[in-house]
Symmetry: C2
Subunit: 454 residues, 2 copies
């Protein structure tokens, strides 16, 4: 029984530079607009919001940005991560396709989120920031930032979506064990939170309300800076360690990817995983890029490409990307990390330019895929990652029908050990399904033509 | 900031043989006795209980036993595991000691338990066993065996201590996601369980009741075999991959261990970690071996060395080892993996022969140590592992007082992501402490003399 093969890189192969996709895209990003004036935001506005080094990265057009040695040293805790070949899944699907996956679940915080959290905590510490203030949904990002701030000796304040704060105490306990502060959103600590609660005392909160409370807190405390777990260019930049390592691992085993698959909430694991291959693609390599998203929050498959706010209260900059509207409140699915109304602007631009395509999946088919994968490979995917597995299975089945020996590589963004309540509900047959999906947008990536499936 | 250093081995360095300590110990184990006749058990009795290959390993006096290629292939999922140097902890303690730890937390089941589970599931599958039946406390072992049985395509039935079954559903969900059956113990499915419940309807169960129910089930079903997560020689044998890798990693960086530290419930992580060093020790190397156990269940520090049963109902063989009595019901501490009345016979013998020493720790000091470690290193230890961290800190502090540049190596047996309820209770100041510990036994290991501490 060889359920899978593993391809490692030595510690010395941890990337020395992050890859910035911006200069390689067919066109640049539209300006971020000031929430009040609707004029392009200036450096001063951004530097009040974020550590200066991150503002510089946010707008940089340098293709390569050096990773500080201190951040690389922290990456050594678990990086480079393994690339696996999922031979048991291939056999189970009886597909001629080869299926590989990049495993980010060995991160001590449980997901890829730590790749950016460590960088952000490092720069914040270097610039004498007192405290990083952030939002979290199910808690993956909040856990990663709490851990990173603990390692670099600074404080973190995490606004956690109230529904998760109450129903999923484990990740809150984790953040508090790292010595950090966690508050429910909406809550009584900000004007924005108080106003929401006055209107709706049992408001469940959303990522967008938590962002607004974090932004308000930062505005009122000179030593605070805001921290994002996705969306911003600099976050996707930090995540490119995933794709850079994957690219090297595939080269070492002499494989060219035909398809890259990742789930998308905002797009931090997707962007980090696929952007390092975009240069190859623009140079003519036939690489189909597929984003898997929940039918309950189908940003890339049903959203509009337009200017919108990233937060419910409209306190932060406006950006142009795919959005379901900043007041959209997704239904309470179990993939907390995918419940966000907008795509990262870089991911939105890539979709708009036809560099990637997206499919949306209903909740039960996602948990079926996650369960199958766990039984075959002994690795329990986070619900977010289970979307990726679902999309990969769909591609592999299409390859079987077409007798195509494609190389499919997917990003295993995180493990599901803190999502076992959701699997328990699925096992017990108590999980509500989401509506079947209908794509309202034109297909994006031509490299996926002929593999439409639905 | 270099909080730690990591020392990896290539996949090719996964051990090809397990190390059997038995032929190297100063004397052999006392016979296992039949529960009724009190005569040494025969092969037939054992082979009705366990897969034949495991019976052969249980009594083997071969120093080296080949690891089947299929098991090594499964180990590739995450092995070899890293050895880390905990430089941040050294700095925090201001100790001249060097502190290293072998990290078993990257196992997909979350702990070292998978090392034996994969071997047991492999042999069971090879011999056509229908189903492995086992007991689990908090669920670490049950999770590992469920996963392993899923990978090797056989069934598992897990009797889970009722208190954990009801209060800690996450690991139960995990086992069920792997397609395996989990029943509370005591429960209505066995005579033994029904009798206990008739007497005490709200009986919380213990490992020892779950073992009895598993043994009764196996006796009644010809295709079933019993599976143990600790205690037996063959389990400790499988776990020696931990120590064998550690030994190679230390050799590669030119370090000789002065102290080895591991927690002990039954002794599977302890035995697997330290036994490969016992030969060095018997050949004259000054290596102190310290077992850390809970004050609430102080088997090696306050137990008696005598014949006893491994299960509450007295259905299995009797063995000679340290025991608190097979009817001992430990108080409900959070380290479920350490709540067992007896030590593995090999660990008991090693303690009896002065090859290792033990210290017991109260619950709060253990969680303090676990929290400190998490903040310094970003890794959240399981409560069992937090005992090891506590003992390591005590040794390192003694080294500071004695200005001794010792090399301390501990076994990080598993992560605490499924134990966050316990950390939450600790964070909230709601954790009950256990009684301070008083050792009633003479010190064991002379290599620990002068480092008594308490």
């Amino acid at each position: 029984m060889t359920a899978l093969e593993r391809y490692d890189l030595p510690v010395s192969a941890i990337p020395k530079r992050w890859y910035n996709v911006l200069p390689d895209l067919p066109r640049g990003l539209d300006d971020y607009l000031h929430p009040v004036t609707r004029e392009p935001v200036g450096q001063e506005f951004m530097e009040r919001l974020l550590p200066k080094a991150l503002v510089a990265q946010e707008t940089s057009t340098d293709r390569w940005i050096a990773i500080p040695e201190e951040v690389r040293a922290a990456y050594r805790l678990w990086r480079p991560t393994p690339l696996y070949r999922a031979t048991a899944l291939e056999r189970h699907l009886d597909t001629p396709a080869e299926i590989y996956f990049k495993y980010e679940g060995s991160s001590p915080s449980g997901s890829h989120k730590l790749n950016s959290a460590l960088a952000q905590a490092y720069y914040a510490g270097l610039e004498g920031v007192d405290r990083l203030v952030t939002d979290t949904g199910a808690g993956q990002w909040g856990s990663a930032l709490s851990m990173a701030c603990s390692l670099f000796g600074i404080k973190a304040l995490v606004y956690m979506v109230r529904a998760s704060f109450q129903s999923k105490p484990y990740r809150r306990h984790l953040m508090e064990t790292f010595g950090q502060q966690v508050l429910p959103s909406p809550g009584p600590h900000t004007d924005f939170g108080r106003a929401l609660l006055a209107d709706t005392p049992d408001h469940p909160g959303s990522e967008a309300t938590a962002v607004s409370e974090a932004l308000e807190t930062v505005r009122l405390n000179a030593g605070d800076r805001f921290s994002m777990g996705a969306f911003a260019n600099h976050v996707l930049l930090h995540q490119t360690v995933i794709g850079l390592e994957t690219r090297e691992q595939l080269e070492e085993i002499g494989k060219q990817p035909d398809f890259l698959v990742a789930s998308v909430g905002c797009g931090s694991n997707l962007g980090g995983f696929v952007f390092p291959f975009v240069g190859d693609k623009l140079a003519g390599a036939q690489i189909g890029i597929l984003a898997a998203e929940p039918a309950a929050c189908p940003t890339l498959t049903a959203g509009e490409y337009r200017y919108d706010f990233a937060d419910a209260g409209g306190l932060g900059p406006m950006t142009r990307t795919y959005t379901l509207g900043h007041e959209f409140v997704p239904p309470p699915i179990h993939s907390g990390g995918l419940r966000y109304h907008g795509a990262a602007p870089l991911v939105g631009l890539a979709r708009h330019e036809g560099l990637l395509d997206a499919r949306a999946y209903a909740q039960k088919e996602v948990f079926e895929a996650g369960t199958l994968f766990a039984r075959l490979h002994g690795l329990l995917p986070a619900p977010e990652t289970a979307h990726t597995v679902r999309a990969t299975i769909e591609l592999a089945e299409e390859c079987r029908r077409q007798r195509r020996r494609a190389v499919i590589v997917f990003c295993y963004s995180g493990h599901g050990l803190l999502d076992l309540g959701a699997y328990g509900s699925f096992n017990a047959g108590e999980m509500a399904d989401t509506e079947p999906y209908e794509c309202t947008l034109a297909a994006g990536d031509p490299a996926l033509a002929g593999l439409t499936g639905r």
